[in-house]
Symmetry: C2
Subunit: 410 residues, 2 copies
């Protein structure tokens, strides 16, 4: 589609801008972004959108999916998405937000991780439509003189102003010089790609801005930095992460995905609607209103959210089934359905150990203790309230932890 009428172009700029702005924490900067969109639309030239991926070996969860879904919007609007795999930089590792220097990955490990990664990404993006590039292709060719030219464009003060570097230095924790290279090389990738837009989470802002520096010095138009929010985990407090076990994985089964969505708070439900679905803003606002005036039950809104996400990562049929399964098990208490099964090592075990160590239903003993005391721990639908009770394990035994977690002993 091409636009020739100036008013039409302006309208299209606003339309694309509104779609793309949704869910962003910050755009640096909005006026440059509109100019780029205008140029793109009027000359019918797609913008070059970059997302850098550090292939450090991770199972994709909904937190990772936030920028990936933004890329999909760009793609749907006709822009060219570049999926930049940090084959080289991934071997350095960026300490962003972490307190320790990462270990260097081997070339083989990186290759393995990329494969797993792209496999998961294909659930969100059509890999055929995007360009996958590897920064090893150009970074491996850099020699010392090239590196020095890059280094000469930055000062020490600039680097140590990055929040996590500053923090670690002030705590007398080591910051390896190699870590300074990460933001610089990430910036250099933008020069090589001639990126118009780079996406990244808040903690990536410093690095994204270095791309602007290097592009400017290289005489290129500076990229727009699109800062994406960091998604809260199921607890609504911590960042979603595998290690905190508060995540929904993009490869989770329909039932798991649906069940995890059902466990979030009402506030977090709105946030998830906003950031991880495509449901229109107006619809979300309407839903909120209906819940507030009592015409819609929050549980129903949450079930719709569950259906939405299962639809995205699986399909409509699976989403219906997941809802049915959930309603059977948790609402109608009908256990005549497939339940997640666990195999247990011990034949007799204390309730706290059972909940935390053996089944992994809960992640801390204090949480387990609280649940048991409040009657949320049930064996075959019978509450066990004694934290010191020992359970005799039998096949087919159904264990519940609270309203949303259930397993059957194999």
């Amino acid at each position: 589609m091409s636009f020739t009428n100036e008013a039409e172009i302006k309208k299209e700029v606003e339309r694309q801008f509104d779609i793309l702005k949704r869910g962003c924490d910050e755009i640096i900067n909005e006026s440059e972004f509109k100019k780029k969109l205008e140029k793109s639309i009027s000359t019918n030239t797609p913008l070059r959108i970059k997302l850098g991926i550090d292939p450090s070996g991770t199972d994709l969860h909904f937190g990772h999916a936030v920028p990936l879904r933004k890329l999909k919007q760009f793609q749907d609007l006709g822009h060219q998405v570049f999926f930049l795999i940090g084959t080289f930089t991934g071997r350095i590792g960026d300490p962003t937000g972490k307190s320790e220097t990462r270990k260097m990955l081997s070339a083989e490990q990186v290759q393995e991780n990329i494969k797993t990664y792209l496999d998961q990404v294909s659930l969100i993006l059509d890999l055929d439509k995007i360009k996958v590039v590897y920064n090893g292709d150009w970074l491996e060719k850099l020699n010392l003189e090239d590196v020095l030219r890059l280094l000469s464009q930055f000062t020490v003060s600039q680097m140590i102003s990055r929040e996590d570097f500053a923090k670690r230095l002030s705590e007398n924790k080591p910051v390896s010089l190699i870590e300074f290279m990460y933001p610089i090389l990430q910036g250099y990738d933008s020069v090589e790609l001639r990126a118009d837009v780079e996406l990244g989470a808040t903690e990536q802002k410093f690095n994204l801005l270095r791309g602007r520096d290097l592009q400017k010095n290289a005489g290129q138009e500076q990229q727009v930095c699109m800062i994406m929010p960091i998604l809260e985990g199921l607890d609504g407090v911590e960042k979603m992460s595998k290690s905190l076990n508060n995540y929904i994985g993009v490869k989770d089964s329909p039932n798991d995905m649906f069940g995890k969505v059902m466990s979030v708070s009402d506030d977090l439900m709105y946030r998830y609607y906003e950031v991880i679905t495509e449901v229109a803003q107006e619809e979300i606002a309407k839903m909120k209103e209906e819940i507030n005036n009592g015409t819609l039950h929050p549980m129903e809104a949450k079930k719709r959210l569950g259906e939405e996400v299962v639809k995205i990562y699986h399909n409509e049929e699976e989403s219906k089934k997941a809802r049915e399964w959930f309603e059977n098990v948790f609402s109608k208490k009908n256990l005549d359905v497939d339940l997640p099964e666990v195999e247990l090592e011990y034949k007799e075990i204390g309730v706290i150990d059972l909940l935390v160590r053996e089944t992994g239903l809960l992640s801390s003993t204090s949480e387990a203790r609280r649940l048991v005391e409040q009657g949320g721990f049930k064996i075959n639908d019978e509450a066990v309230k004694d934290v010191k009770a020992v359970v005799k394990i039998q096949n087919g035994m159904v264990i519940r932890a609270g309203k949303k977690k259930i397993v059957k002993v194999k």
Copy 2:
């Protein structure tokens, strides 16, 4: 010569150690140095001695000569001297002791500077006996991965502890990241050279120690760092440097060299004896005693120093002639000898301008003013004490500034 007897070896170690220790500010560390000497002597394997030269284009003066003369001692003791020309690092420039980041030199400029440099070095060292190596030979081959491996061996805190970096950072003056590379690459040169000893001035200590770090990590024996003093200029206060015009150049004429030596204070005279000549320590001590008890006139000791240095950089005959010339002009006031000539632009000029701008005999107007007022400024041996006087310039006119500076108008 080879030593087999353990006692002989020990004696030889001590002998070499005493010779080499002379004039050093610090040896890191002495016991390692003795061990290296012992191994060298007992296995008849010369030590590998490194002096790095930054070819930033400089006229060699006696300050530069300090480490070069130390290299000569190593050479004379049979060790292998490596003259490391920083063809690569010289293009970065090290800000040591300076407050601003240096400009990168072009490859051509570096080549030109090396030529001029070696030409001057040949006045002190026999170029045929030393190995001249160029760090461009290995540094040009480093790729990004190699650089990262080097960077990973150092932390930010370590780098910013270097005095000049710390100072500039605390003053909010920029320190370019490229400057961190200088000490690292200098250290890497030691790994490539498998250096046993590296020489450098006090301000180089940090960089020399980085060589030890990298050698250790590379599984090599660590180099001994031999820290040489920074030579005071003729004023006895500031570091000898061309820009402060307080230097004796290795290419200065015999008369200039002799005259400049005669202008130093008695204290500085002892220092120069110690650092820039080969006169034995005992002889210097004896001389000091004789001056103190009045049996030797300081002027005579200074004339001997003048002869010594002219002998080193020219020859014995020239040193005698320089002494005669000096005595004729300054002691016997016999001007019937060759005097340094100047060509002047103006035919009439104020005395202060004449001393500072036109002849360059003095470097500041305040100095000139003081000299004139004290009667030290003479035209054809007649004092002119009026600072506002205007001098009519004539051919053959002899101009004196103090006791040691004299020129004749061409």
